[in-house]
């Protein structure tokens, strides 16, 4: 029987803000999301031109990596923001972009929305959070599969096929309302058909899909994972406080734009209904009540790699420059704490 816990959010974390401030920060707009779409389109046109220019040379792989990063990370961020319903004020626009971005991210939109809602309700709680992508503590093998994007890709493909066959995991049955299961299956069939059509088109000679979409999407997986892996890695399990379970980190303007400000991840989990464009202001408002963000994207990732390597060697894994839960400081043989739910 599932324990009934209080939702993990600002209240459970002891963070308080003036309700008027929060209400003003939760206000939705179409403008910032439309500007994001425009910027993304321009960036993809530029990186697509880069791939085109590099065709026939060994540079094409680097060009596809850059193009893939620009394709995959914003697709993840936009799919996430629209799953929350906060990207746009206009509902139809939000739902349209949810579909489009989820096709690129490769997760059926309703599955995206409901599993993510559950992730917010029970953030990093063993057997309750439906978006715990890896076993804890993280080992080197898990890190490699995760950072390569292979674990996530495998999970999404398996779930998509299973949902298309109307087979639902116990977790899906738990987090998706019963009435929505048939729509889940319908959508999964549409997604599967779409991907099959792309594969057929490539087979029939439309190889541009391979160079501009499929390979960049696969190469962009690790770029996306460099950002997303930091959200909860080495954080505490089963804590009611978002301050223990979640990490914010500093990054430059490009990272913030492409990731739609999700580097403010503690802030996002405290108040999930605040749209991406208001997160920097929210960060300022709660700054005195939450821990400092971890150092930049690369430094935080390097420290994580260092921790994982030391864990694989049986050495002490105390992190020097990033936040780490005491539960995650290991030495010698690692005792598993929690299993992945993805």
């Amino acid at each position: 029987m599932t324990a009934r816990l209080a939702p993990t959010n600002a209240t459970s974390s002891g963070v308080r803000l003036d309700p008027k401030v929060i209400k003003s920060l939760r206000r939705r707009k179409n403008g910032p999301g439309l500007v994001f779409l425009l910027q993304w389109g321009l960036v993809l046109t530029s990186t697509g031109w880069l791939v085109w220019s590099a065709m026939g040379t060994e540079w094409v792989w680097l060009a596809m990596l850059v193009h893939g990063g620009m394709l995959t990370l914003p697709a993840y961020a936009l799919s996430h923001e629209t799953a929350h319903g906060t990207a746009y004020r206009a509902r139809w626009l939000n739902e349209t972009v949810l579909w489009f971005s989820s096709i690129l991210y490769m997760e059926e939109p309703l599955h995206r929305r409901y599993t993510h809602t559950n992730h917010h309700t029970y953030t990093w709680h063993q057997n309750l959070d439906s978006q715990m992508p890896f076993d804890l503590p993280m080992t080197l093998r898990i890190w490699v599969l995760e950072i390569a994007g292979l674990s996530l890709l495998r999970y999404h493909i398996v779930q998509l096929v299973r949902m298309a066959c109307a087979q639902y995991s116990p977790m899906i049955r738990k987090v998706v309302p019963q009435d929505e299961l048939s729509r889940l299956t319908r959508n999964a069939r549409i997604f599967t058909l779409l991907y099959a059509l792309i594969a057929a088109a490539i087979f029939l000679g439309h190889t541009w899909l391979l160079w501009f979409l499929v390979i960049p999407r696969l190469l962009g997986g690790p770029v996306m994972q460099c950002f997303t892996i930091l959200q909860h890695a080495e954080a505490a399990v089963n804590s009611p406080s978002i301050l223990d379970t979640t990490r914010s980190f500093d990054t430059n303007w490009l990272g913030r734009v492409l990731y739609m400000n999700m580097n403010y991840h503690v802030e996002h989990h405290l108040y999930p209904n605040v749209p991406f464009f208001s997160l920097p202001v929210l960060g300022h408002e709660v700054a005195s009540q939450i821990p400092e963000p971890d150092p930049g994207l690369w430094r935080t990732n390097l420290e994580l790699v260092s921790v994982v390597l030391r864990r694989s060697w049986g050495k002490n894994t105390r992190a020097r420059t990033i936040r780490q839960a005491p539960q995650m400081i290991t030495e010698g043989v690692v005792t598993p704490i929690s299993k992945a739910t993805m």
Binding site: K23, G85, R91, R113, E180, N273
Partner: protein, 115 residues
């Protein structure tokens, strides 16, 4: 029996609710939400019909309240459930404004359907 002045429950001053906003109102063991939209003031039951989540933290856009938990949406004027996972309509209550004060008739609940 028609609702009388005595059936009304005083909520608050109408200036207390900003446009496109919602407040929670508790009365005895019952809880309600009072909305202010461009079309006026409206009252519904406080909890979403999908799961036990109060709508006071929801977002009001035009005449629609969106539940903060799963984003089920309701028309606050009629209580009609507009999008999944909300399937059951909200119960609404008549609202009256007198001398800038908001009153609701909690003994006059109305639900569009029982689906």
């Amino acid at each position: 029996m028609e609702g009388t002045v005595n059936d009304r429950i005083h909520v608050c001053c109408s200036d207390s609710i900003e446009l496109e906003d919602v407040i929670r109102f508790d009365h005895e063991d019952r809880t309600f939400c009072i909305y202010h939209t461009l079309d006026g003031f409206f009252a519904t039951d406080g909890y979403c019909t999908h799961e036990e989540q109060h709508l006071e933290d929801g977002i009001v856009i035009d005449n629609v309240i969106e539940c903060p938990l799963h984003q089920g949406r309701f028309d606050v004027r009629t209580g009609k459930a507009l999008s999944a996972p909300a399937c059951i309509d909200l119960i609404t209550y008549p609202v009256s404004i007198e001398n800038n004060e908001i009153y609701i008739l909690i003994d006059k609940p109305h639900r569009l359907s029982t689906a």
